[in-house]
């Protein structure tokens, strides 16, 4: 009985009703827009929402923007990128561009590579649309195949055409879903969080520091070793950085 009461109390404290969540969201917005602005209070309100499971692109976007206005470049890029991954929007792209403009690293030399082909394909497609198309075309293919068998030979012309189109659509969309799944599971990106992070040649505290990266830089996380992760910059520069210096997206 007592345990049940305690559990209920804890649950009540850690849960916001939709109205409470909206009120906290507005509280963050009010802190952001008051004169003078209180970006720290706005950020705290949005973080509370995240901690209590009320996430989504809107909260992430506002949190990233508050961090950006507060001069915290690392968290700003992190939350804006996370919002972008959930749902693309113009305002996210604009604020991300502003964050990138303030970022202190200029990548030069090497072989400047954009993201790998699969990642670019996944990035260019809408996950939900592709998933829905894939699902629909698969079932349509099955239906058309059954119908095809029922039709008299010689009366199958239109059915053949539809069946072929359906098979092509199913193959393409299912491949895109497969690419998306592969990218999500194999292509891990992160954002440099501290103002300065030292990147070493080898995963060890005594290894030579090859270069430094700064807050807000988006990197690819290649592998892990102990407390280090190997990162790769977009110009193919690589090194090992303390795990705490890079937060995965």
């Amino acid at each position: 009985m007592t345990l049940g009461l305690v559990a209920a109390l804890l649950f009540a404290q850690s849960y916001y009703t939709p109205d409470e969540a909206q009120a906290l969201f507005r509280e963050g917005n009010d802190a952001f827009y008051k004169d003078p602005p209180d970006y720290a209070a706005a950020k705290a309100a949005y973080l509370k929402l995240l901690e209590h499971g009320h996430d989504g692109p809107d909260v992430l976007f506002n949190l990233g923007t508050a961090c950006l206005a507060n001069g915290e470049l690392g968290p700003a890029v992190l939350y804006l990128e996370r919002a972008r991954r959930l749902k693309r929007a113009d305002d996210i792209e604009t604020n991300l561009a502003a964050a990138r403009a303030r970022q202190g690293d200029q990548l030069v030399g090497g072989v400047p590579t954009s993201a790998p082909f699969f990642e670019r394909v996944a990035d260019a497609t809408d996950d939900d649309v592709v998933s829905a198309l894939s699902l629909g075309s698969l079932w349509l293919t099955l239906g058309l195949a059954l119908l095809f068998r029922r039709l008299v030979p010689g009366r199958r012309g239109w059915a053949t055409f539809l069946l072929v189109m359906s098979i092509i659509t199913a193959a393409v969309t299912t491949s895109l879903v497969g690419i998306d799944v592969w990218v999500q599971t194999h292509y891990v990106e992160g954002v440099v969080m501290p103002d300065t992070a030292r990147v070493r040649d080898f995963p060890g505290d005594s290894a030579r520091v090859a270069f430094e990266v700064h807050a807000g830089l988006k990197v690819r996380i290649m592998e892990e070793s102990g407390k280090f992760v190997r990162i790769r910059l977009s110009n193919n520069l690589e090194g090992w950085v303390d795990r705490e210096g890079v937060t995965p997206l």
Binding site: Q22, G56, P57, D90, D91, D127, S131, L135, L142
Partner: protein, 617 residues
Amino acid sequence: MKKTGSALALATVLFAAAAHAEVEFYQTVDRQKVGTEDTFRLTIVVGNAPEGATVQYPAPNDFEVLQTSQSTQMSYSLGSGNQGVIKRVQKYTLVMRANRAGKLTIPPAALATAQKTYKTDSIVMEAVKGRLQADAAPPPSGRPSLPPGFPDPFQGFFGDDDPFGGQPQVPEPDVPRSEQDLFVRATLDKETAYVGEQLNLTLHIYSRVELSSVDAVTMPKLEGFLSEDLDSPTQLAPEQRVINGVPYRSYLLRRRALFALKPGVITIGAAEADITTGMFFQGHRVHRKGNALTVTIKALPKEAAGLTVGHWRIGAEASQTTVQVGTPIQVRVALEGKGHLKSATLPKLTGPAALRIYEPTTTDKSAITRGTLGGRRVQEYVVLPQQTGSFVLPGLTLQYFNPESNRVEESKTDPITVTVTPGAGGANFAAAPSNVGTANDGPKNRLEAGGLKQLRHTANFGAASRPMWQRSWFAPAAAGPLALGLAFGAFGLIRRLGGATDPASEKKKKARAARARLAAAEKLKRSGKTQDFYGEVEKALFGFLEARLGFAAAGLTREQLDQKMSEAGVSELVRARVKSSLETCDMGRFAPGMGDVHARASALDEAAAAMEAWDSK
């Protein structure tokens, strides 16, 4: 010009009004105790000296005679019997300095007459090492000093342009023993100063000989200071000065203003000069090295760290306060006062985004007032109003440290309100048709986008949390069609393998084969031979009949076939269609005109219709 104590000075008595008057002869000093760096005066007084008498100065070994001078006084008085008596007193003044410390004696002076030689008493003096005499403040050059207690009647009369206060006072320098006829001395007007406070360094030549020229002056390195020239004369201008009672001609070589950059005790090295003495071809060149100086620089108080030092005031003014949008105005911010102008920083003019403020142009004009460096800096901003409305350029505040008052002071300007009205282009320009384009291109209320996008005002907490493919039902739903297709295929295969002897399936198989044959006949509809086409259609029909009736119908006559179909329960209508289709095939192989496409299509449709009618019976 050096004088020695043993030198003989001859005085000739021109006349004696009363030869019988008693001769008065003695010597005195103005003090009994002196320092070896001090000078003192020995006065030899001769009264009623007979004609032809000569005075011999004392020739002490322990003293140095720096200067001699002579004066004569005459007085007239009534003596006994109302007889007038004229008294004549001659005074010989010797400026002297002790050569060493100790009890020293000035020997007697002598007065030689035709009858006898008079001698004064010797004088015993006490000399100590160094200086006992306080530095007497020299009177200001050109303006006589006033007795203490008397107010200066000219105080404030001249204001800042006091012609008698033009230059700072130079303290009396120490006279070096070895080069006392010609020496170079540097002086500072202060012994301590704050970082950034002005110090005046002055370099003089002091001379008792004729100077021809100063050929070269090497100033010391002024490390730790910013320095500005105050005075650097190109011609030697002598000025009379009496130092320790000795008259000198002083020549100003340089005067510089120094501003210390950091606190601490800073030593300024000695300046040097190459000087040519004597006139014309008699001159010779000498090198003189001046004295080093030490000054203590104090750090600014904590509250004044980083502030401009001096005494300043700022002002701001706008060329217009009511303008049309797009019309620039000028805002001048001026800084004026005393101090190092080049180091002074003006607060930056800021304003609302509606007023675009361009980088200013800066004009500096240095000035020297009574030896103090200062000046005026003017920054001129161009301000371009971009929106209509009333906007305020906030007032500027300059904080500075005033070393004279030892505290942080500030000077402020008033805010400037600028009223921006809409551009006049619209109606006025629109009236002239040729200028319609100009009116449209005129100044606009500029509303510039940029910066961060606004926050989202409402949140949808649950939406778009993850892609569809990550949801649990997606994988089974996507695998469903494939699995079902495989299942149907497997089922059909199993049925095909397991149902080979099943009569029903055999019938269906034959029926499918018959339909397939009919489809093959369709391929011959346009291009194949007529007999082949109708043969295929007939084979398809017989195949179908065999599948449906369970026996081969190819060898039966039409009557036999009709009977079998009747026995099998086939309706009259279907039987008629089948027979009609078979007859069409027979006729098609032999009758002319049955080979065209329309006839073939008709035969195909007829056969297909017969099959359909049978299956739907």
